[in-house]
């Protein structure tokens, strides 16, 4: 089972992870973080589709994404 973890406080909402995800698992949230950005979030029910390609991790300028295997 692949787990995607997006640090909501580090994220600055640049959307680069959203556009590179081949499975459309990541979207932008409605809420704001403490710095005033809409952070990226995963769609919980789609997380099972994750193939751990790491593209979101590679493109994240904030090193806010971790991908683990459970």
């Amino acid at each position: 089972m692949i787990k995607i973890n997006i640090d909501q406080e580090r994220c600055k909402g640049c959307r680069l992870c959203v556009i590179v995800c081949p499975k459309d698992i990541i979207i932008m949230s409605e809420h704001l973080n403490s710095a005033g950005y809409h952070p990226a979030i995963k769609i919980e029910e789609k997380e099972k589709d994750c193939i751990a390609c790491g593209k979101c991790y590679q493109m994240c300028p904030e090193v806010a994404i971790e991908i683990n295997k459970e």
Partner: protein, 248 residues
Amino acid sequence: MKKLFSYPDSLKKARFSYCPGCGHGIVHRLLAEVIDEFKIREKTIGIAPVGCAVFAYHYWNFDVTEAAHGRPPAVATGIKRVLPDRIVFTYQGDGDLASIGAAEILHAANRGENITVIFINNAIYGMTGGQMAPTTLIGQKTWTSPGGRKAELSGYPMKISEALGQLDGVHYIERVAVNNPENVLKAKKAIKKAFKNQIANKGFSLVEVLSMCPVGWAVTSVEALRWIEEKLIPVYPLGVIRDKSKST
């Protein structure tokens, strides 16, 4: 639980001060991963430039100093010559390296200093508010080229990596980009090679990274990826510019 992609040890947990979509964070991570993978964190000394990455010492989890504008290669020379068994790298932007520090980089390269240089080319001065850099494209609008860069006034986009590639002291120069996941992986490979060269005492290695500055280019973070593909790469083609280990 197995970590597949996780935060590298050579980065502190501090949040970056960079704008959303800026490429510096990606390159910082690549550097940190490479340093982790070679297990050289405890013998590495990094030199931050003047520019947006001036605060790199807040992010890198190893010894770091900050040089005057353009002078990192001279500072690196002083450190490396005294401590040849340490790993010394400079991290410089296009203003720092190609403009005010053109003499220092040229001569450090020509001396074949056994250092690694990470050269961030985003065709603009970010920290001071978006002025024209030596690498700014013809026609590119900046704060100091409001009508777009004109060759007759400001010369041409400077291909300093190609110029440095002519020098016999240089071991390795490659130009990479961080505008898509495939290119990021290639960038990491190049950075890894540049550090490996230093560890093996091969001499001067430089990796030029075409990197996003969406705020400076007045585009969105996503558009900035395309801007690199469509505008920057045609002027600054990716690939190996010099590699002595292959020329024999």
